[in-house]
């Protein structure tokens, strides 16, 4: 079982790195928000995998629950913050035209 969980965790980390590409080069702020939300949700799963591998799932479940609550609050607060800004212009071209 440990081999399967290790392989699933490595595959999950690889896919999370692919999502991180979108978080780095995403043209607007809101694209980055989406990618960070996905990565944060998958971190809960990764914490549970670590709990199964270490044999201490009772402790890691509590950490995962707290992390999930924190991730939800961060997503809500950031989306409330960026809706009043000009968050659709790319940051690297100041004064550029908005993304259509």
């Amino acid at each position: 079982m440990n081999t399967f969980i290790t392989a699933a965790g490595v595959a999950l980390i690889g896919l999370m790195l692919l999502v991180l590409i979108r978080a780095i080069k995403g043209p607007t702020v809101i694209d980055r928000l989406v990618a960070i939300n996905v990565i944060g949700t998958k971190s809960i799963v990764l914490l549970l995998f670590a709990g199964i591998l270490f044999g201490q799932l009772e402790m890691f479940v509590d950490i995962a629950l707290g992390y999930g609550l924190l991730n939800y609050i961060v997503s809500i607060a950031a989306s409330r913050y960026y809706q009043h800004r000009k968050s659709l212009e790319p940051e690297h071209s100041p004064g550029g035209s908005p993304v259509s």
Partner: protein, 106 residues
């Protein structure tokens, strides 16, 4: 019980692969949000259910019941919270003035 956990975790990884491809390849903010919201929620719920099935081979008795209840609490929270966060982010994009992608736009 263990094989059910293997099947659920593998299916969740397949759905997360779909989420990743959609998040990288779709042309617009709204379509990326569509891929991220649905696939992320479903794959997380399936993998966590698989973790319950796999943990039944490690823990037993009242500890397994408490563990399953806690993981079910996480599943319930994600099932409510993730679409709400997706809706809030899409509302932020709509209020900031993102125009939807069309086939004849550039």
């Amino acid at each position: 019980m263990g094989y059910l956990g293997y099947i659920l975790i593998s299916a969740g990884l397949v759905f997360f692969l779909g989420t990743t491809i959609g998040l990288l390849r779709f042309p617009d903010f709204y379509t990326r949000m569509h891929a991220a919201g649905k696939g992320d929620t479903l794959s997380t719920v399936m993998i966590l259910t698989g973790c319950i099935c796999l943990s039944s081979t490690q823990v037993d008795g009242i500890g397994l019941l408490l563990l399953a209840l806690k993981i079910l609490l996480i599943i319930n929270f994600i099932f409510i919270g993730s679409p709400t966060a997706t809706h809030a982010m899409m509302d932020a994009g709509n209020k900031a003035g993102a125009t939807p992608w069309r086939k004849d736009s550039k």
